[in-house]
Symmetry: C2
Subunit: 359 residues, 2 copies
């Protein structure tokens, strides 16, 4: 069980800053926690609001500086999820210091803190909880072939790459749906989404034989929580490292529709591959068709909208021009909903989904 009580967190990004700290930025932007400080000795004197406007959070250089803040934190949240999910070695002593101070540790790493004898021993002494969000459920069941309940609309965010905003798009669409009076919910499938929502499963940690089956089960829980079920996507169907995870989400989740997240300006998949190879980002129109063909191997689905991440373009005018160009290229409702607001795209998605013949 994940903790659900309100938290006062220090977020650890030591050595990584904030712009590439996907877990940190997700929790800061979308979480309901009180963020006391971000701990990164390379950023001392700066403020998170420089990168994330509206979030007035200081960087501190030492954990003790965060403990001295007017609101004392009760948890340290590891703010990055590096490729492979391993603990940066320099973080070990900081985590031990936090445990000694009685803080809970919130971790989305593959390397489980609770299975580390040094961390577990320290936590046993101080009463700190070591919360490993990627710990998989104690469940080994394959797919049942379950159908979605009547009245439920299941939508998966997919992408042209990993780490370009599939969770943010799902969260923004859920918020827009709620503003519109819809019973909307996100199904968290990664550690950051779980930290924000307080439930879910890190699908990339599942045993591959049970990936489809566990996603099916997770979506069933989403249907119990709302009528418009937005599954947080992971990876991409053409990601050299993560495509098996993406396949499990498409075939286990059997979404009625998909929203394709795309980051213009990104030329290739960005991950820790060999230096002499590259994996280009796919052209949109055939990539949309491929998603629909892969999905219909199990159940029909349609890409109903494009959600752009235009963060590589500083000017709003440039971003708007990109939105218009990609709307024309794909013939689909298109917007950057993080930048320009999600209400318009939500309405377009809602209407497109309601018109699907397989609902």
């Amino acid at each position: 069980m994940l903790p659900t009580e309100p938290r006062r967190l220090v977020i650890l990004t030591e050595g990584y800053g904030i712009d590439d700290a996907k877990t940190a930025t997700g929790v800061i932007r979308y979480g309901s926690d009180d963020i006391v400080a971000v701990l990164d000795s390379t950023m001392v004197g700066r403020n998170v609001s420089e990168s994330l406007p509206g979030h007035d959070i200081p960087f501190v250089g030492r954990l003790s500086d965060a403990l001295d803040r007017p609101v004392r934190p009760d948890g340290l949240l590891l703010g990055i999820a590096p490729t492979g999910g391993k603990l940066p070695p320099a973080w070990r002593s900081i985590i031990l210091e936090a445990i000694d101070a009685g803080l809970d540790i919130h971790s989305g790493l593959h390397q489980f803190l609770a299975e580390d004898p040094e961390f577990a021993g320290a936590a046993a002494r101080t009463g700190s909880r070591l919360i490993d969000y990627r710990q998989p459920p104690d469940r080994m069941e394959t797919t049942l072939g379950r159908r979605h309940l009547p009245g439920k609309r299941v939508i998966l965010t997919v992408g042209t790459d990993s780490a370009i905003g599939k969770m943010s798009v799902a969260l923004e669409l859920v918020a827009a749906g709620r503003r519109d009076g819809a019973s909307a919910v996100m199904v968290p499938t990664g550690q950051t989404g779980m930290m924000i929502e307080g439930w879910g499963i890190a699908v990339d940690r599942l045993i591959s034989d049970f990936t489809n089956g566990t996603v099916e089960w997770l979506v069933e829980q989403g249907e119990a929580r709302g009528d418009w079920v937005f599954i947080e996507g992971q990876g991409s169907i053409d990601h050299p490292a993560y495509s098996a995870v993406t396949m499990g989400l498409i075939h286990g989740g059997t979404p009625h529709a998909m929203v394709l997240v795309h980051k213009p300006g990104l030329a290739e998949h960005d991950f820790d591959h060999l230096p002499d190879v590259s994996f280009p980002i796919a052209p949109l129109v055939p990539f949309i068709e491929m998603h629909e063909r892969i999905a219909e191997l199990i159940a029909p689905s349609k890409v109903v909208a494009i959600a752009l991440n235009t963060s590589l373009y500083a000017s709003d005018d440039e971003a708007r021009a990109l939105v218009a160009a990609i709307r024309k290229e794909t013939g689909l409702p298109t917007d950057d909903i993080v930048r320009f607001g999600a209400d318009g795209l939500w309405s377009a998605i809602r209407d497109a989904v309601e018109a699907l013949p397989w609902l």
Copy 2:
């Protein structure tokens, strides 16, 4: 490390017979072990040769009957791999009896025997080894984007369903290649292949985030063992439960070519799904194209041959007519190589692979 010394095995299929015991039949047909007996109290008085001609192995009703045979066994091999990989409850007492008799236990279940306190305690007393073939490697690495070595030809068996003979096809093609003087090797990706070959990884047990990356690494080991590298396939791209595993093999293995295994007469995927749903077997021609399109999301590949499993047809004439019909339908070299021999299809595959533009 897997044991590689010659073994004298009792194979346990209690309650399952032999025809549906995929692990048992694979080890009997393709393994180099001395099979002393098959233990199944529902089959006493019968002989394995009734199902698998040429394999004169008695069924016995009790373990003690197998221990009394002229050649005393040194291991009990669990001969089934049920959906979900759980231990049939009735088998527990038989396994304990085998441990008490000092036999090693060879298991391909997801439920690890070595982690079971009762089995582990008994084995500690008697010195029996509990060998869990599905135990994943202690390795958490994502894909590197490694290219195959020059001169290597990497071929993956794919299928229109799970459990229709992808491993047998790979083994038969390796044997045919060796008869032709080629340095051919199978890369085992499932527990039965591992039991036969003495190495490999059960890919369906991997953490999904590391599936592609571990398959890439496993194929590298295959390239060190031979020039014609046949990767044992798993599942199918349209299998509701196992497609994520299949995707990891296609994108992690980046095969130069694929051989599609198909079982004529099978109408739908056969697995433990809800009774009111069905998942039909795909039509061949678009399914071949889908494999090539999915593969080329990462690296180009071509389906170069069809390997039929005509076991649902008793008459050789019927089987030959099916081979001819499907050769015509697909325009690809086609044969049932288990039934009619693999030399012809091997030659066709060899020539087709050598002509691939991306080699």
